[in-house]
């Protein structure tokens, strides 16, 4: 290309206007992350005991600009619509930061006592959360991809954090290989989308997909290629949210990784996958409901059914939670199978957001209890749960709350999450929607079996070897437990107070 022929203003770099308030959360998080690394460089070992506290402060401090943005209330659009701060973005950012904070609380004693690299651990954790916070605002293909890699790459490393443990190495390697494979497929899908539309901003991709960009007439000619592009793109995120059949990494990675990291992968990382998926579907593919609806229907039903059925046979709690996570992913995908422009009074988006928020509280809580129990039993097998009620009644009650919340029994938080999903699906009407609703209902019953079976071990069985020494729970872990139990109960008793925040819309942007 003859560069001289280009007009000057194309070559000159014009910095786009930046709304500093809008990107304040990212900047605060970035600053604290850098500070954390500096602290290690300057103070070396002496700084170690501060790192976990500083990481916690970093995440809470980032909540401040989130709150001021929420107070301000205005939707903000940056970079020609590639980066949007709307109420959806703010709610999801808050979910990421708060679940990140709980993960820090879980990690504090685990990482310090395990003699792992502390500073690097928290730096990577914060980097990954930064990627998630960016993801919540990303409204174009490239930003989504960058955010996706920013949150993924640190988590590959976190999964291998138990350096001398073979299973942890396996966990990380498996996660990494499967992850890059999925990224590659996704990137290919995105490149086809770009080729079809000539755009990266999601809303413009959407309008391009709804009419043939080349000839300008009927869509039918390009439907197969659009279908392929959409499927490929979605596959990358189906991997992240561990939906069937892209879930294979989850059980091994969850069991091998350190438990706080598992909690992080099962909650924050998974929610980030859903956030990206939601943005793609509602902004990028919305006009092509004929393409993504059947795909989501199949993903949802197969994930929940197969996840639940395999979970029935698990003998390790963490592995069980991995399969339960596959099933939960199926429930969360269900509203996407009915979302579309034809739907009046669309509740699907707010149902997903509500589910994600409640899911974060319940799941983090389960991992907090597993972590606390493992301090005594040194095991995560289901037998290690036996008789917990007799030596740690508080922990037993907390675990019971989380398990039945996950099963969706009122009045514990999960019922409202599941109810919102039912509400959105049944509200859509039609045979397929009703069948989907019935599938979710039947799956809830299957899931109850394994959740209740653990609860029964906790309450009705005797402790292994009759060992009734109480568990000493460190304060940070206790704080995590209290936070998650209270959140789960509040969601259950006063769903109205919470649904107020999760009843959000996506700003089209661009």
């Amino acid at each position: 290309m003859d560069f001289a022929a280009l007009p000057l203003d194309v070559l000159a770099f014009n910095r786009p206007a930046i709304d500093w308030h809008a990107v304040a959360p990212e900047l605060v998080l970035l600053t604290f992350g850098a500070l954390l690394t500096l602290l290690d460089v300057i103070y070396l070992e002496r700084g170690r005991k501060l790192t976990s506290a500083l990481a916690g402060i970093a995440l809470l401090a980032t909540m401040v600009p989130i709150l001021t943005l929420a107070w301000d209330g205005a939707d903000r659009t940056l970079f020609n619509g590639a980066y949007v701060v709307d109420d959806f973005a703010l709610v999801m950012k808050a979910v990421f930061l708060l679940s990140g904070y709980v993960v820090v609380l879980l990690s504090t004693n685990y990482i310090a006592e395990g003699d792992y690299w502390e500073n690097e651990y928290y730096s990577l954790l914060i980097t990954s959360i930064l990627g998630m916070v960016v993801m919540a605002s990303a409204r174009d293909l490239i930003t989504i991809f960058v955010a996706f890699e920013l949150l993924s790459i640190p988590s590959y490393m976190l999964a291998t954090w138990k350096k001398r443990d073979l299973r942890s190495n396996e966990a990380g390697l498996k996660y990494y290989l499967m992850g890059v494979f999925a990224s590659a497929i996704m990137l290919y899908g995105m490149s086809v989308l770009f080729g079809l539309s000539g755009e990266t901003i999601l809303t413009r991709v959407n309008s391009a997909l709804s009419s043939d960009p080349l000839s300008g007439n009927a869509l039918s000619s390009s439907t197969p290629i659009i279908t392929m592009a959409i499927i490929f793109t979605i596959v990358g995120f189906a991997f992240k949210v561990s939906a069937f059949p892209f879930h294979n990494w989850a059980p091994d990675t969850y069991t091998g990784a350190p438990i706080p990291v598992t909690a992080f992968l099962a909650v924050a990382s998974k929610i980030a996958g859903f956030v990206a998926l939601v943005q793609l579907v509602y902004l990028g593919f919305y006009a092509r409901a004929d393409v993504f609806q059947p795909l989501m229907w199949i993903l949802a039903v197969s994930s929940m059914t197969i996840g639940n059925l395999i979970a029935l046979r698990q003998t390790d709690v963490v592995r069980l939670m991995a399969y339960s996570g596959v099933a939960q992913a199926g429930y969360i995908l269900a509203p996407l199978a009915v979302a579309g422009p034809e739907l009046e009074g669309d509740n699907t988006l707010s149902s997903i957001v509500a589910y994600l928020a409640i899911y974060a509280a319940m799941n983090l809580g389960v991992f907090a209890v597993i972590l606390a129990a493992a301090r005594k039993t040194r095991s995560t097998s289901v037998e290690s749960m036996n008789g917990m009620f007799h030596y740690a009644p508080g922990l037993a009650v907390a675990m019971t709350v989380f398990l039945f919340a996950l099963a969706g029994i009122p009045p514990l938080g999960g019922w409202f999450a599941k109810f919102e999903i039912f509400f959105a699906v049944i509200g859509a009407g039609g045979t397929w929607a009703v069948l989907l609703g019935v599938a979710i209902a039947l799956n809830s019953v299957i899931a109850l079996y394994y959740y209740a079976a653990i609860a029964r071990r906790i309450w009705a069985d005797d402790a292994p070897d009759g060992d009734l020494t109480p568990i000493r729970i460190p304060p940070s872990l206790n704080a995590a437990l209290v936070l998650t139990v209270v959140t789960t109960l509040v969601f259950g008793f006063l769903p109205g107070a919470v649904s107020h925040f999760t009843d959000v819309t996506l700003l089209a942007g661009g």
Partner: protein, 537 residues
Amino acid sequence: MDYDNNWVLSVLTFAPLVGALVMMAIPRGDDAIHKAIALAVSGGLFLFGTFYLLTEFDFDNSGEMQFNYSTDWINVINSRYIVGIDGMALPLILLTLLVVPLCIIYSWDHFPEPHNPKAFLILILILETGMIGTFVAEDLILFFVFFEVVLLPMFFMIAVWGGPDRRYASLKFFLYTLFGSALMILAFLSLFFLAEGADGTALRTFDIQALTDWGGANLSRNAGLLIFGGMFMGFGIKVPMFPFHTWLPDAHTQAPTVGSVILAAVLLKLGTYGFIRIAIPILPEAAVEWAPWIGLLAVIGIIYGALGCLAQTDMKRLIAFSSVAHMGFVMLGISTLTTFGINAAVFGMVAHGLITGILFFVAGSIKDRYHTLEIKRLGGLLLQAPRMGWILGFATMASLGLPGLAGFWGEFPAILSAYQPANGVSTTLFRVYMVIAAVGTVLAAGYLLWLLQRTAFGTPSDEFVDDPHIHDATKFEYVAWAPMLILIVVLGVYPNFLFKTSDPAVEKSLHPCLIEDKADLTAADCPAVFDIEVAGG
């Protein structure tokens, strides 16, 4: 009314929960404090609730919802916190208020293994909240939440304090009920989205009264049948109706005595109450089409339950099967869709609660003394513990429907009501059901008298003849049983107290085309399903 009384139902519902929370905060060491709090809360609530409801309830208007209170709850889905009671709910609330303190008194000095009165009593109080909440809820989602709240405490009560096979029984109970309620919530949601007013605007409400006024108008036949089917699964499993009854004998046999009593006395009624409060009033046309099937399952339940009883070797299991049979009578009454039948059902619910409650109490006491409930090892109760033997005899007489006792008024009118079911329901078919149900009463007399003969009569078997642990009823048992025994007699002698309370409410809940004399109706007034024209012509 001069002053506001709309707070009373919320107090009745949540006071036990507050009590449970207080108990959670008190450390486990001192059992006496926990027992005192639990009894004070439930007993105080019984005294206050009974007095207040009986004096303030407007019996002349018992068809109307009273003590109403309505406020925002979950705005996003337009679900509201609405409570209120009428003549159908009142007897069941009073029954619940009565049974809970009696259960606490009964367990006073012998909590089942592994003891731990604190946890046990907390569960009972949470159960009470769930049960009362279900009877007062006037919003479908609120009803659903309370309907489910009872599951967890009952699950733990069976799983922790139950018999040897408790692990299996508790999970079976839980899974069955959840299966039903998962389909039920789908049905509720479909109602929410499909209900349309006469002018075609969507109602978008979960308010039970508003939906009753709507009454399924403009709903397609298939949608109505499917929605009713969803609710049928939810309520029918809870009742339990044949063929979904199999969780009941297991749950009853394994549950601790108090658990069995609460299960029989109140929890089963949540299902039948759902039918008469929600399913039939909201979807009368679908109810007419479902009625023959419900009636069929009800009479199968009667006969099957009775035959099951004859085959049992365990006393508690026998009583559990008799529950299947008795609830069959209740469901037969309901399936006629007549005021007569449903009034009989309400009476049957209360009577069954009292009578089966006392039977389970006595069975529990026998188990405490003999450490077995195997019928062939028992015998001679009248010799070893004569007063308890007589109480058992009294309860079996009441259970088999002896006139003059409460059981009669639940059973006999239910059979009678099948002679003339509602408009649109096949009379011939229900007369056949009536005959079958009548045979069921004979079988009931058979198995109950045989049970009495084998356990109370005769001489004690050799292994128990000199057993020093076998003694007559204790003072706690008398206190716990006396109110129920007295009520069985009082309701048996003066049934009209209950009938006249429930009748206006029942009449109001039914679609006019179901109950009015066909001569007063024209085909134009009623949808075709009520079959007015054929009968009138």
